[in-house]
Amino acid sequence: MSLVFAGVCSHAPGITGRADRAEPDLKDGLYASFDRMRDAIKEAGAETLVVVAAEHFANFFMDNMPAYCIGMADDYQGPIEDEEWLGIKRRTIPGNPDLSHRLIKDIMQDVDVSYAQEWKFDHGIMVPLHFLTPDNDMDIIPVNINCQGPPLTPLHRTWAFGKALRRAIDAAPEKIALVGTGGVSHWPATPDSGKINEPWDQSFLEKWAANDKDAMLAYTDEECYAEGGQGAFEIRTFIAIAAACEGNPGDVWFYAPIPIYAVGCTVGAMAGS
């Protein structure tokens, strides 16, 4: 078994870009939870971090949109956003093309995953990395699930993808940490930015923490959009992690609606590694 840590976190650009506009207690709580995740990944001895993200048209566009894509580059660049706007300095992030190649090949047995040897990370990956690998000293393998440009991959396929990813990780000798990053409810980049449906978030996170596959896969895109806004399609990233840890419970370390960050900020870990 070479999965040594699994977890989930938020990635909203406001977390770093508008950091000090939140209530200090909430900001501190969220930041401390990111720190806790960084420590847990380190303590687990992880050599590589696989980030399952939901990017926002930084690399993938409607001219050729993959449902699933995995990076296979020597290195990556990010953030693609203005450094000042995001509050994160641009850097080159080390990759691990050899491990990527093995993961992709194995996953392809079940899911027709795309791959990319060029990838500019947006806030969807850079905000987590800002906290999890601040010294830029760990190999990163980016994974993307299209949660932005419909038609979107069905949730049961996301489950299959998470399972395939797990099998591929277990076949690798390296110690690997796996983090999914997405929103629960949010209406980002709309006039309703800051709106958060806390009861809906709590209900989803309960199902995630119980690793209740049937309950998670019962969500529809229509329900997510109506109750959880444009950002709720990103529950796919959380569901992929649950699939990778099938049968094991999760633990939500932190959840708080932080309107100026425009999302119900979440950090959690899942057993099963």
Binding site: F61, G149, A189, P191, I196, N197, A226, E227
Partner: protein, 103 residues
């Protein structure tokens, strides 16, 4: 309506500093590479962030175009609200004001 190309232009601006440099000195030269209506060209040139929002530009793209055009975060949110008042509900895409959910 060539919303796809409005969004493709913004996607390209986000990715390529060379296109940004050209856009800043020769905007029309960049725009002629894309199939755009007069209304779309006008909204991009001005820039009319509220109108671009109402046309249906995905928020994940539009927020970066607003930042590129020197909109502070609060100004950008306000520009979308103004757009709704001036031009009515969002015409296409997913980033309309949906109602629903709790505040």
């Amino acid at each position: 309506m060539s919303l796809y190309y409005v969004q493709k232009l913004i996607y390209t601006l986000n990715r390529d500093p060379n296109v940004v440099a050209q856009f800043q000195t020769d905007m029309d030269g960049v725009l002629k590479e894309y199939t755009l209506t007069d209304e779309e060209k006008h909204a991009i040139r001005k820039p009319d962030i509220g109108l671009l929002y109402v046309m249906g530009v995905n928020g994940q793209l539009l927020m970066h175009y607003a930042a590129l055009m020197d909109y502070e975060w609060d100004e950008y949110i306000q520009a979308m609200k103004n757009g709704l008042e001036e031009h009515g509900q969002v015409r296409a895409g997913l980033y309309l004001r949906t109602g629903g959910g709790a505040v």
